[in-house]
């Protein structure tokens, strides 16, 4: 399980195991009572329109060198105490700059209108056109639970842990890393070598 001492805990995909069932999306929305159009995790198409088209889960990887934090004009995006990327709904202006900056397309801006009290929810923006993203289910982690998506994935296609733990899981499963060198550097920083196996 995650510990700050051993590095930031993240959810990453084991794409070879994904069967495109959508259970991760449902688990996320149900756990956090999100509006239907909210996609803190979403199954996306790869090689769209080709014979090799396939669908895989994507969400915020809480990058070590997060481009979204660099470009956010209001500092609404910041690192939490556990070094994950968090958005302050009370500071976000919905400018989409983070959406332009993120190399993974993780930020989303659900338009559903929700009462102000819900908009100011501690765990993200949720709605009203403000930026929203995966929170790695920090409250669940505090209870010793994995994030909802990883917990409910029937095929273990979502791996959760510190870089060292993720490296061990990838090795156990005998699968390759889902990140190339550039992406691993952005996401894991100095720990990138653990994931890329170099």
């Amino acid at each position: 399980m995650s510990t700050q001492d051993n590095g930031t805990a993240r959810v990453i995909p084991n794409w070879e195991s994904c069967i495109d069932c959508g259970a991760c999306e449902v688990a996320c929305q149900r756990t956090w009572d999100l509006p239907p159009e909210s996609d803190r995790i979403q199954v996306v198409a790869l090689e769209h329109g080709t014979g090799d088209e396939t669908n895989k889960p994507m969400q915020c990887y809480n990058c070590t060198d997060a481009p979204c934090i660099d470009v956010c004009p209001t500092d609404a995006l910041h690192y939490s105490q556990s070094d994950t990327v968090r958005v302050d709904a009370g500071m976000c202006i919905g400018c989409h700059y983070c959406g332009v900056g993120c190399p993974f397309g993780a930020p989303q801006y659900p338009d559903d209108e929700v009462p102000e009290a819900q908009e100011e929810h501690l765990m993200g923006a949720k709605s009203n056109g403000l930026m929203d993203k995966c929170t790695t289910c920090e409250p669940r982690q505090e209870e010793g639970l994995e994030p909802a998506c990883a917990s409910e994935c029937p095929t273990d296609a979502l791996l959760f842990g510190t870089p060292e733990e993720l490296s061990e899981k990838l090795e156990e499963d005998g699968v390759s890393t889902p990140f190339n060198d550039e992406a691993a550097e952005i996401v894991f920083g100095d720990d990138a070598d653990m994931i890329t196996g170099e």
Partner: protein, 378 residues
Amino acid sequence: MAVEIAYELPYTQWNWRIGVYIAMIGIASGAYLMGYLADVRSWRLGEREHGRIAKYGYLVGLAGLAIGPPVLLSHLATPFRAMMIPLTMTNLGSWMALGAYMLMFFGLGTFIMFVWVAFGRERPHGTTTPDADEAVAADGGRDVASDGGSESGPAQAATGGDTAGGIRRVFNRIGLLGAVDTVADRTRPTETVRLGIGALFGLFAAGVLIYSAMAYGSGPTERVALWDPTFLVPVQIFGGLAAGLTVAVGLAALERGRAGRAIQQYALVAAGLLAATLVAVLATVVLLPEQVPAAEPAVDTLLSTQATLFVGGAVVAGLVVPIVLLLGGVFGQRREAISPTGTAAALVAAGALVIVGKVALALAYLLAAEFTPMPLPM
């Protein structure tokens, strides 16, 4: 095998509002900078027609700011929160935060410079300064525009015909002209100091002009290849200066109903800047795919799906035709092939077309953009 995620095509983060915003702040900042240069020339040469370009440059700056930022705010989820700039725009490493501050100071400077130039009985370029081609005015030497706008009769008719005069007339009707004239006269410093202040605000205008390119920016990872700063910055700088000056020239020609020698000179400069913009745009189309292969699909889109907007609106209507109108109008009048009124009409048409072209170019750059996600092995 490395693959690309194809779930964000076409690029959907921003819509037409961002295009209008970027076009308007580009025109506004370009108009201010060229207007300021005309202001300095008017001061050095003592010719009022240069001052007209300055006045309309500042006015176009104000108009661009009156349109662009409100359109941007309408795009935001929380516009009122965004308007509290000193409280919200705290990340000065972000171009959007930098742009917000530069726009704020640029807006203040444009307003001040316009008020000082357009209002007051002792306003520069509006009293005793002669036109270069009118050494002796129609009334025997007294400038009919020197009325300050508050008198009746021929003098008022003279000032009521220009745009600033139109604004003066509006202020006169609501009974504020005298007060604003007084404020302008009492706050206006000496010409040297005024131009120094104008230069200071010019730095913010230059910053906004650069920001009009970087506002597209996709952050440190630059995942939108079409917006490569190496190619985009020249397009936006030349485009903003060209559009701003062309609109100012068009308004000056509209005011006078003809183009004097100075206005013709500015028209030629505007044509040169438009030509430079055209070269920068063509360089983007030809060289960007070679330098940045990821941009090839977006450039193809510019020339196919978005061809009407890009080729028809931005390049032909917004650059080529205005160049022809500016050059044709000026040289046509000099060779007496076109009447002064015809030349003025050509310059006014060029001014209108560059606005259309600038907006079309900004929209084309948005609509053709493709998000290039981080390639991921699988």
